[in-house]
Symmetry: C2
Subunit: 338 residues, 2 copies
């Protein structure tokens, strides 16, 4: 392993000069820097993150805490965060909570408190009081993407407004019997319930505003899963009940499930039933799905940027940031015919 001293010896200078040159500090002559860089390159030097981290107290990495990496929303945020980190030459420590319970606690404490990163970006997690307290004690800058958490900054969308806007789109098309496929009850992931609750709340608000009384029987559970959602609609259709004229799914994936179920039972979308989702998943265009687009990639970008700015010494942004959503009209919604 070649260290800073090896370079120093090689070029006949002191270690501190080498250290400074390598970090491109102003107090070193350009000529010396050249020499140092050349030697470092030639010798194949790589800075020890452990050593420099030990003395500076900075890891040059940020911890990303996620409930899972295999859901579209999360993977998009991760990509967004990553794009910013790369630019700032920061590394990413991925902390996958992998569900609730003891395992979660261990994962949580393990990497966060071990100071693997200089800041923490959490995704869609509702922290327990204990976790929040532990986080605070680390004194690390924290931001949450996707869900407002009391006492912490967040970047995300206004879930209630999104739910209302999606529902309103259907109402504007004349629909009055609108089924809502909600997400949640997904214990496996231990993620926040605020998202599905907000979207549902928006749905009910929009209905009421249009003079329609929300009917609890018109809300079914989809668990943010395509499969679960498809099954739910299968059940509904096979029950022989009157079908709603429109469906608002709290996520695109659940909307896909609904569309597949409807088609499978010979129902046309949007001829028989209109369907709208939230997300603008990359598969949505293939399903011709009308949806309320959010940009999780951008949410990741913003979250990371706020953290990075703070680590650079810029004044901390204390306020949350609500990003806009916009309606993407494709073919899955149409004026009511029944």
């Amino acid at each position: 392993m070649v260290g800073i001293e090896d370079i120093a010896r090689d070029i006949g200078m002191s270690a501190s000069t080498v250290s400074r040159a390598l970090r491109d500090l102003p107090a070193v002559s350009e000529k010396t820097k050249e020499i140092v860089r050349a030697a470092a390159d030639r010798l194949g030097y790589v800075r020890s993150a452990a050593a420099s981290g030990l003395v500076t107290g900075r890891t040059m990495a940020i911890s990303l805490v996620v409930p899972s990496v295999s859901l579209w929303f999360y993977s998009q945020v991760i990509e967004g965060v990553d794009s910013q980190l790369r630019e700032a030459d920061y590394d990413m420590a991925l902390v996958n909570l992998g569900g609730v319970g003891v395992e979660r606690q261990r994962a949580f404490r393990r990497s966060l408190l071990r100071h693997r990163g200089d800041a923490v970006l959490a995704l869609c997690l509702d922290f327990s009081d204990e976790e929040r307290e532990e986080l605070r004690q680390t004194r690390l800058p924290v931001i949450v993407v996707g869900t407002p958490v009391s006492g912490l900054r967040f970047v995300g969308i206004d879930e209630v407004a999104a739910g209302a806007q999606a529902t309103q789109h259907l109402i504007d098309l004349g629909h009055r019997d609108i089924l809502h496929i909600t997400g949640g009850a997904e214990e496996r992931l231990g993620l926040s319930l605020r998202v599905p609750q907000g979207r549902r709340w928006g749905y009910e608000q929009a209905l009421k505003a249009a003079g329609i009384t929300p009917n609890p029987a018109r809300v079914v559970e989809g668990r943010f899963s395509m499969e679960y959602s498809r099954t739910a609609i299968d059940t509904l259709i096979e029950s022989g009940e009157t079908m709603p004229t429109a469906i608002f799914a709290a996520s695109d994936e659940m909307a896909f499930g609904a569309i597949l179920s409807l088609n499978h039972h010979g129902l046309d979308v949007p001829g028989d039933v209109s369907v709208i989702g939230i997300d603008d998943h990359e598969m949505s265009s293939s399903f011709y799905l009308t949806t309320l687009a959010q940009r999780p990639f951008d949410q990741g970008v913003h979250g990371a940027q706020i953290l990075l700015d703070e680590l650079c010494g810029k004044p901390a942004v204390r306020t949350s940031r609500v990003l806009p959503v916009h309606l993407v009209t494709r073919g899955s919604t149409a004026p009511v015919t029944r």
Copy 2:
């Protein structure tokens, strides 16, 4: 920040004893360990990864190099790797290459050579000679998941056999005019082309073995994308050409695109066209897709385990590991009718 010395002072012992107790070394009395652990807990001690890493030369983390996190296969492998790391109390440094070019080189060197992890698990990447050389110089244990790379161990499936088996399933059902949707030409990701090439090769092998001459016109590009694949089939259908009686897509996502396109044009699956994929994506059941299942989660588990064992001092596994695939029959394939 509470360190090892604080604990030592608190309980009136030396730092070395505390250090040993915390690591559960045998040379400390059980009673002392209890006391130390209690104090550590009470004081809220967390070991500094930088400090212990500096002296031991180990980071207790593994670098995971991926071309992207937003494709199903990768996210599954990541989850698998993560499950093993968590058990071993290792952290994960995620290195997202994010495409080809300069950026890729920077990302590559940055985190790997900076010794963020004690071993490297790479996903589906074809390393350039230069990269391979740099990797070797780090002397870190390396393993590749998903694609054989010359000179490196790998964990994955036999792509050729998988392609052949999927095709054979269609042949067994009497199909002779089988379209193949291939993946690749996805420069954005800079991933290995061996996977799609292997599957295509298997497809051609199976055809030949059945006395069918492979027709290059019956291979279309799907870029491992649902959208791209759907468009490709749209084009085929709208061209008015004779339709094949079956389609073998090199990934489930591309099979989904094909199914949507077929349905959209009033063609029944499997009535008019049979469709088979490779993967067993979690959405496949919703599409009633027959597919050749692989378990990327398990691939991640195996890859991580091999690395972890090696880091524990167990003899290094030098051989690659080929995992089995199996046919999952759902409703998208049927005997030929035309």
